[in-house]
Amino acid sequence: MRKVDIVVGFFFACFGAYWIWQSSRFEFIDVVPGPGFLPMVLAVAIFGLSVLLVVTRLLGDDESFGTFKAPKLGELGRVGAVSGVIVVAALLIPVLGFLPTFVLLVATLLFGIERTFSVGAFLTVLVVPFAAYWLFGVMFGVRLPTGPLGV
């Protein structure tokens, strides 16, 4: 966890530094705090805390900070695949429309990633997107994105 914390600290230090630069473009204070006041204070705080995190980890020993359970390659692969499917679905919603996209999403998750071809899986692909469409689109009148098929 020590090495992970050092990397996390560096990341947030960069994040804080970037936000300090962004916040400097707004008025800080003129009698009363301006729009740049709180962002600048927070960005400096994040930068300072990140440096503190890095320094304490560099000076400490491995046992003091817990253990980091790194995900195995296969586990990361599954997470990456599921994340990728969700991202692609978000890209496809405005193109294909809500219903076709979510049918594809559920089908890909179950047949492509989980490799499950049970009756339950088929029912999930058929029922879940349509039930969500009916509930939100029909019953509550939410204007869901439509595609070339009109749904």
Binding site: M1, V4, D5, V8, F12, W19, Q22, F26, V31, V32, P33, G34, P35, L38, P39, L42, A43, A45, I46, L49, S50, L52, L53, T56, F65, G66, F68, E75, L76, R78, V79, V82, S83, I86, V87, A89, A90, I93, F102, L105, V106, L109, L110, I113, E114, G120, A121, T124, V128, P129, A132, Y133, L135, F136, F140, G141, V142, R143, L144, P145
Partner: protein, 511 residues
């Protein structure tokens, strides 16, 4: 005594066939809306407005009030079962209720929230009945300095949610505050950190952020392993599905405290049920003798915010009915409904239209009873959802989460926020950065900033404005105590360790 007489007249009206029907319709719709992520009472009440003008004003307002408090019952259901907060005020329920579900106590968690919701809802309606004018006067005395110091107290509670690493918790809290500054500055109207885009003018939506950090991130954590059977053990016997006597007893104190915190916070325009539930949660952790159990499925940690969440409903109606000031989005639409019916909210509403106001209040008593009768038998049904194999559950959660966040504002940007923060949330879990401080700070930050700048504008930049009122001073003292608590505990722990090492050293040297 006059209030009792008016209330009994209100009951007589509310118990008529037509009004009873609309109480049940509103409460049922509210529960369904509360369960579904994204959709909240404001949107649905707005959709119901055209329908409500076709019925009598009393019936229409009773139905809309039913949706308002019904949603509180439903919001915690998906938070507990699936770690999807149905609305922002259900986040503490996800923090405590979901670990309870993971331990096989989903039914007990749902039972506790139903009973606590009933008790808190009833307490708040009783307080609304008898204390409305008094509380309205106190709420009027709450100016920007008092508001800022109260929000500061809430934000200081980040230290209690930081978990194992205080530094990482503080980084998360500061990041939440920073993310909340994205959008149009409320005081000057200047766009901040919008990078020239229109979508960021409204900032990041809170519900999209929480669904990403909780629901989507949870799915990514769980899919690391192949998802074969059911995720959690769910007892089959009814007795094991319900809360035990010990669990119910442990919920009594938190429910009472949460009810008062929620009711009072609900009366403050702008504070809302979300701030109420977080304040109650962190207060309960602060006063608890076992704070280390919070976050692991601790019944008091679940009861207090649920009580606050429901009690805030009655509190929110006080500024609306007595002063014509809506406290949030839902009460703003209710205000619109009142005006649509030709009713002018304000101090004279109670005297000019008692035939409308008192049936609404009476219907809230009836609605609370109806909701507990409807929800308690449904506990085994809801808990049985967890028996489904996870490969069926998680695609359902993904679909509901994404369509739910889309339904907030009807834009894809919110869907992207949920997806991106889902991936970020997964990363945060892996490296030990807690999400709760980020979420708490994100909610309270804008309220605190606006109140700070208003206060300093009033005082021409002098900080002494925060020391002028007893309420502000009290909140500041509580804030200092809140921040000092974890550090004094750490100091005591370090002293004990040093003392025991010294004892061991002296024993060894004696040998």
């Amino acid at each position: 005594m006059e209030a009792l007489q008016l209330l009994s007249d209100g009951f007589a009206t509310a118990l008529s066939g037509e009004n009873l029907f609309w109480v049940l319709v509103g409460a049922t719709l509210g529960t369904i809306i509360g369960i579904l992520p994204g959709l909240g009472p404001p949107g649905v009440i707005a959709i119901l407005l055209p329908i409500s003008v076709t019925i009598s004003p009393t019936a229409g307002l009773i139905m809309m009030a039913g949706v308002f408090y019904g949603a509180k019952y439903g919001g915690s259901t998906t938070a507990i079962l699936l770690n999807i907060p149905g609305d922002s005020n259900a986040v503490p329920a996800a923090i405590e209720g979901y670990p309870l579900a993971q331990k096989g106590r989903a039914g007990a968690a749902l039972g506790i929230t139903t009973i606590v919701s009933f008790v808190a809802g009833t307490v708040s309606v009783i307080a609304l009945t008898f204390l409305a004018p008094v509380v309205a006067r106190i709420a009027l005395n709450f100016g920007p300095p008092e508001f800022f110091t109260l929000m500061l107290l809430g934000i200081a509670a980040v230290v209690l949610l930081a978990g194992d690493s205080m530094v990482k918790g503080l980084i998360a809290g500061a990041t939440g505050l920073l993310l909340a500054t994205i959008g149009v500055d409320a005081v000057t109207g200047l766009p901040r950190f919008t990078f020239g885009t229109i979508v960021l003018l409204d900032g990041i939506d809170f519900v999209a952020l929480t669904i990403g950090l909780y629901a989507v991130a949870e799915i990514l954590v769980n899919v690391e392993k192949k998802t074969g059977g059911q995720m959690f053990k769910v007892p089959r016997r009814l007795r094991e599905l319900l809360p035990t006597k010990a669990e119910l007893r442990s919920a009594v104190g938190p429910t009472i405290r949460g009810s008062f915190i929620g009711f009072f916070t609900g009366t403050l325009p702008g504070a809302g049920a979300t701030a109420a539930s977080f304040l109650a949660y962190t207060t309960e952790k602060r006063v608890s003798k076992t704070p280390e159990k919070f976050g692991t499925g601790h019944v008091p940690g679940l009861s207090a915010p649920e009580a606050a969440n429901n009690a805030a409903t009655g509190g929110a109606l006080i500024p609306l009915l007595t002063l014509g000031i809506p406290g949030g989005a839902t009460t703003a639409i209710l205000l619109g409904a009142l005006i649509l019916y030709g009713l002018q909210p304000g101090p004279l509403l109670f005297t000019d239209h008692p035939d409308v106001v008192w049936p609404i209040i009476a219907s809230m008593y009836i609605g609370n009873v109806a909701l507990v009768i409807m929800n308690l038998p449904l506990i085994p049904v809801f808990a049985s959802i967890l028996r489904l194999p996870y490969y069926v559950l998680y695609p359902t959660i993904v679909v509901l989460s994404l369509v739910g966040v889309f339904s907030i504002n009807g834009r894809m940007f919110d869907v992207w926020i949920a997806v991106i923060f889902g991936i970020i949330g997964y990363g945060m879990r892996k490296v030990g950065i807690p999400a709760a401080p980020l979420v708490l700070a994100f909610v309270l930050g804008p309220l605190a900033e606006r109140a700070l700048r208003q206060s300093l504008t009033m005082s021409d930049g002098s900080l002494f404005i925060f020391l002028r009122s007893p309420l502000s001073i009290a909140f500041l003292i509580l804030t200092v105590l809140m921040i000092a608590t974890p550090f004094t505990s750490m100091l005591k722990k370090t002293k004990k360790e040093v003392a025991s090492e010294a004892d061991v050293g002296s024993i060894e040297s004696d040998d």
